[in-house]
Symmetry: C2
Subunit: 495 residues, 2 copies
């Protein structure tokens, strides 16, 4: 048994190290790489993906896992073997040539997406996306999970989740959101609401300084993290004590600040994972939804709350020279507005953004929607759900990075994460009823510790929903999220 364990630890570690090298290649491509480097980068990534896939699906590794699967083991090792068995089994269904093609295709697609987005021209991206979609359809045929073909992709991000479970949950979410939205829209506060006015044209450096300040308070240090600029903000884990976030400066200065807080939530999770499981699958999040719960928690529950601004408003007022009082600022920040861009969305419309993408993804993967139809369908759905139409592809179908990378099945995890985040905050407040006083003083240590003790410390020892059950006493519960939204926006819009 010792022999098998040693094989398993060393193979996991090699796969992890290759993954980290790949993360750096991706980080660099999105931050500093000269444009000329793109074709080489695609080939470098493809080679590392294939090498990693080969190592992960190696016979010797899988055999060792299969031997240990039959043995009596302590819980943590048993769970590790369980995850490895499932993942290797899935990975072995994908031929190396497919993995290489997918990697090369998505690297080029990413670049095409950047150009297309910059020029607001879907045509540049279209042939690349067609290739990506074709490959992802092929992937569903290799993986062949029961039910909708999309399930085979979704499982990569949210273990155990299916279209069949998702659809009713999203129906409930949609109804809940539309219900609140109607109440808000019919309020006089909403009807008299003015356009965004308080913070405009804040210099880039002043925005970045605030971002750095909040990131540090959340708990990232210069020694273990860094922040750079990228077209689309993201977090990546390059090594132990090396986590990187990116941000992007846009017209609305809330954007950089809040997206930075969002990414810092992801990064904190990575940094607080159990070190004793280093170089194993146990030192990973069990699902994207749970990872997203960490970013959404900081972004929504913390940084869009009144107590947060008790501390931060005087600082930002001075640093950015804001002419307003705190209450105006808080309202403007949480202003409901059917905007085009998901990551600039208010909390209410956010769920609708996800539902729109989920519906399109289902069609793309089952073949009922063609890539060429996307821009029009996108705009139609925006009209239907939001009552507005994007004026171009940049603020429509080209806004998100995910499809260029082949990440179909990723979007739903944002909604799951947001629901989990609301549940975690409710549980945290039950345990620490005075936590808002800390937040009002810019002190996040107790929050950091609570998250560490209730979520981060588990790594992937349990499935995401089990961790939520341990922390909150129950699994996914959309009602708590709907209640959070209702309470907050009833107060804000007096409706």
């Amino acid at each position: 048994m010792e022999k098998e364990l040693s094989i398993i630890y060393s193979c996991q570690k090699e796969v992890e190290l290759l993954g980290q090298a790949l993360s750096l290649l991706n980080w660099d491509q999105q931050t500093y790489m000269p444009k000329g480097g793109v074709s080489s980068r695609a080939e470098q990534c493809a080679l590392l993906e294939v090498t990693s896939h080969q190592k992960f699906t190696d016979k010797k590794f899988f055999s060792a896992v299969k031997v240990l699967k039959k043995k009596k083991l302590p819980y943590d090792k048993k769970r590790m073997i369980e995850i490895l068995y499932k993942d290797i089994n899935k990975a072995r269904k994908l031929p190396p040539s497919f993995v290489e093609e997918l990697s090369r295709t998505t690297a080029l697609a990413h670049n095409a997406w950047e150009e297309a987005r910059e020029k607001s021209n879907f045509v540049i991206f279209k042939p690349h996306l067609e290739k990506v979609v074709h490959l992802k359809q092929k992937q569903t045929k290799y993986i062949k999970m029961p039910g909708h073909p999309y399930n085979s992709l979704l499982d990569d991000y949210e273990e155990g989740m299916t279209v069949e479970k998702m659809k009713p949950a999203f129906e409930k979410l949609k109804k809940g959101i539309i219900n609140i939205l109607h109440r808000i829209e019919s309020s006089s506060a909403y009807q008299q609401q003015k356009p965004l006015v308080l913070a405009t044209k804040i210099p880039k450096e002043a925005q970045l300084a605030m971002c750095r300040d909040v990131v540090q308070r959340i708990g990232l240090q210069e020694n273990d993290s860094r922040m750079d600029l990228a077209v689309h903000p993201f977090t990546t884990h390059i090594g132990n004590d090396d986590v990187r976030i990116t941000t992007n400066i846009r017209d609305n200065p809330f954007f950089a600040f809040e997206s930075t807080i969002h990414e810092a939530g992801h990064a904190l999770y990575e940094l607080q994972m159990p070190k004793k499981y280093a170089h194993t699958v146990l030192k990973e999040s069990p699902s994207h939804g749970l990872h997203e719960s960490q970013s959404r928690f900081w972004e929504n529950m913390i940084s869009k709350s009144r107590p947060f601004w008790t501390f931060y408003f005087p600082r930002i007022k001075q640093a950015w020279n804001i002419q307003a009082i705190e209450d105006q600022w808080y309202r403007e920040l949480n202003r409901i507005n059917p905007g085009m861009i998901r990551i600039e969305s208010d909390e209410i419309h956010y769920g609708l953004h996800i539902i729109l993408r989920f519906e399109l993804e289902l069609g793309l993967i089952d073949g009922s929607i063609k890539v060429k139809e996307l821009p029009q369908l996108w705009n139609e759905k925006m009209k239907e759900l939001f009552g507005v139409t994007p004026k171009n592809d940049k603020e429509g179908v080209l806004q998100d990075v995910h499809w260029s990378g082949g990440s179909f099945g990723y979007f739903p995890t944002y909604a799951i994460g947001t629901i989990y985040a609301a549940q975690l905050y409710a549980a945290m407040k039950k345990k620490m009823p005075n936590i808002e006083q800390d937040i009002a003083q810019g002190k996040y240590m107790l929050i950091r510790e609570w998250l560490q003790k209730n979520v981060h410390c588990h790594g992937s020892l349990y499935q995401a929903e089990e961790i939520i059950k341990k922390a909150c006493g129950e699994g996914l519960n959309t009602s708590i999220y709907i209640k959070y939204l209702t309470d907050k926006y009833t107060d804000l819009y007096n409706c």
Copy 2:
């Protein structure tokens, strides 16, 4: 034969791509990586080094090379096979465990060196350097080239070069330099020379702006290159059309400007290599000496010349607010001064810096010098050759990055490169007698083209000295370099 060629092309490409990924890991470590990332980085690099070594020494690859070695092939393919045969044969002598250990050891040593250098404390670096030296001694035993054990290391940088050839060449160089130096030192111009005064405390951004300006004129574009800050300036080739240089801001503002020009010379060479040999060993420089000739050419022959400053002095005068006339500036820039730091050295003392390192390296590798003796020996040799003693380890034994990376055998190539650079400039001026007029107008296109046609276009189709023969009509000729120095400094010091 088609089968073998196909194996050879795909294996070379994989090794190249892994090398590029490694270059990025190294670049990142020296530019942006948070300190906490160092131990993971060491393991990532070790894994990629081993993977690359495995691929390079793979039986299938070597067999294909051996088959083609016996066939009649066109010149370029024949040369490619010849290089591969030699290099694989050498690499196969190193066990993978050794390669891994060396990679991990040097990654940690690099970090220790940075800390030691910052704190000017050799003790921090000592145990790491001892491990590195031990491994390099071991390497010489695996490789076992004839003659001095150092030959087995030197050959990695300068094919065909040996200690036995090097020693008399360096004797000649030493004599030549000391001869000029004595003449300079006894000149009244030297004796009345004032300390550096013209450019002091130039703001970092103003320095970097000038660096960017000159880099662009030399021929690097935003699309295919970038410049960042690092402790020790270097150039690295991350992919086709992705070459990166770094610089470092020091008290003397000539430093950043000239070291940037030096690195730009390396980068231009990389960018102008023959694209038709992409992903093969033919699209590489045949030796470090030849690579160095490209950087030293731009740094010494161009940027320390009078015509260069005819164009640049008015610009720098304005940008940096310099109170001087061009002639003063030119003299100050070329001022002879027995300084401690190699990469801040004047042209005359530079060769002595190399000779000092070469002599210490020989002793370290043959065991006659112990690592613990290094600081003292360094200082004694400085006293002997320069007449001055470093006041601490930072300006003594800790100044260079090379040993932390295990690059023993690298330093001599700087001297070889400098000699080649003088030969190339002499040949270029013979062909284009009016080239100084272009330089005086900040126009480097003809120079770029000449270098491309006479050096860069060859890749490694020929050995370094053959390329020099083609370009200059003869191989390595120390006398031309000595003559260059004599002419220049006779004029400068009127001696």
